[in-house]
Symmetry: C2
Subunit: 247 residues, 2 copies
């Protein structure tokens, strides 16, 4: 029987538990700092303790939970943490963009990322902004690959893991449609500039554009935060941000 996907990555207990636990945490199902008890957690997720512990180790690596003596607690994030995470993603993406620009690049290396650019142009032109988030993620993924180094690509993926740090975080806000469309247009301008800079070997420009591009994410989070202050649990990506600073 031709089962396309290998079992390990999709339907294993570890993977199921990881996915469900991750989305529960991101959704703010537990207040920051909550202790996660293995036995009741395993029961409610319908897995045994062994795959649950694997999932917890993975989530520790992703930064969503942290050890506290024995066992794990849900990690708490301050709004400053969110800014720092976005800043870091921008800095690392900038490094990748610079390295991509500084190495000899063939025309064919840029064909697929240019196709994504065209698609995003169309999405914005048609006001079909629902499809934007996915295409934006693809663009950033392609960008990460242009430097031609797996280690760097992995670090970019890692820097995009936290829910408020991802390139497409907050890209579906419906509160202020005109501000949001402006953000899309400016962001796409950054995208075009990035590809052009890489094509021309302009490393410093590519770096600067990637960093400035990440600033859009900060602006988005800031708006979302100001609009929902005192009620941030309503915003999916802000659910696990506590108003106070964490120690």
């Amino acid at each position: 029987m031709p089962s396309k996907a290998n079992n390990k990555n999709n339907s294993s207990q570890t993977e199921r538990g990881l996915r469900e636990l991750r989305s529960l945490i991101i959704a703010g199902h537990w207040p920051a700092g909550s202790k996660l008890r293995e036995v009741p957690l395993a029961q409610s997720l319908n897995v045994s303790r062994t795959p649950l512990r694997s999932a917890l180790l993975k989530l520790e690596q992703e930064g969503l939970v942290e050890r506290a003596g024995a066992g794990y607690t849900v990690r708490s994030f301050s709004i400053e943490d969110a800014y720092v995470a976005i800043e870091l993603r921008g800095v690392i993406e900038g490094t990748a963009a610079r390295m991509a620009a500084e190495k000899p690049t063939q025309q064919q290396d840029l064909t697929s990322i240019k196709e994504v650019l065209v698609k995003i142009d169309a999405v914005i032109h048609n006001d079909a902004i629902d499809g934007y988030a996915e295409l934006n993620d693809v663009f950033h993924q392609q960008l990460a690959e242009l430097a031609g180094n797996d280690l760097l690509k992995n670090e970019i993926e890692r820097a995009s893991l936290l829910p408020f740090a991802a390139p497409s975080a907050f890209s579906s806000s419906k509160d202020d449609r005109s501000r949001f469309k402006t953000s899309l247009i400016v962001g796409q301008q950054h995208h075009h500039g990035l590809v052009q800079a890489i094509e021309r070997g302009e490393g410093a420009r590519a770096d600067a554009l990637a960093r400035e591009h990440a600033q859009l994410g900060k602006a988005n989070i800031e708006v979302a935060y100001q609009e929902h202050v005192g009620n941030i649990r309503r915003v999916p990506q802000l659910a696990l941000i506590t108003a106070e600073l964490n120690t």
Copy 2:
């Protein structure tokens, strides 16, 4: 009985297995790409499969092993990977230094890092360069804390995990003592400049100095690589670097 350290972090099976397995891998005990079988590995490390699997998950996070279908293989690194890892550390440390400079800094925040500076000055003046590596690590740790954000501090630590990426990698080379001492003197100049830049709020300078400081690591690795080409297994930090590019 006053056991100072908590058991979990030092004498647990997981921790023991992790430490031993890590040092075996770093020492190049297995050729890159080797499959790590759980049962024989567990036997040779005198732990059961459960803590071994925890250790493997941790090592995957550290980047030393990677999944390959079922189970893990020893990750292979190219010399370019080493350069990228150092570059990344420099970039992230640079971001931390910049943020430290850009935030209001009290005099007292800098007292402990300045003490480290004085100690390193003494070590270099006395030619007691054996103590340099440890003090250098402390300096970089203090630097990571000056930005005042745990998330950033964690990322710096992470970027310093790979054996060739650590701040003090190659800092005990005995092949070319005079070149090495030059490297120390220049590096310490960077250290002084970094603290001064942070003190004066010169963010761009702090960033640039941290990046340039990391370049010393690249230079060291390059020398070690050139000297031992075809025989890199002799150099501890280069043991798991394959001459060829990895796919």
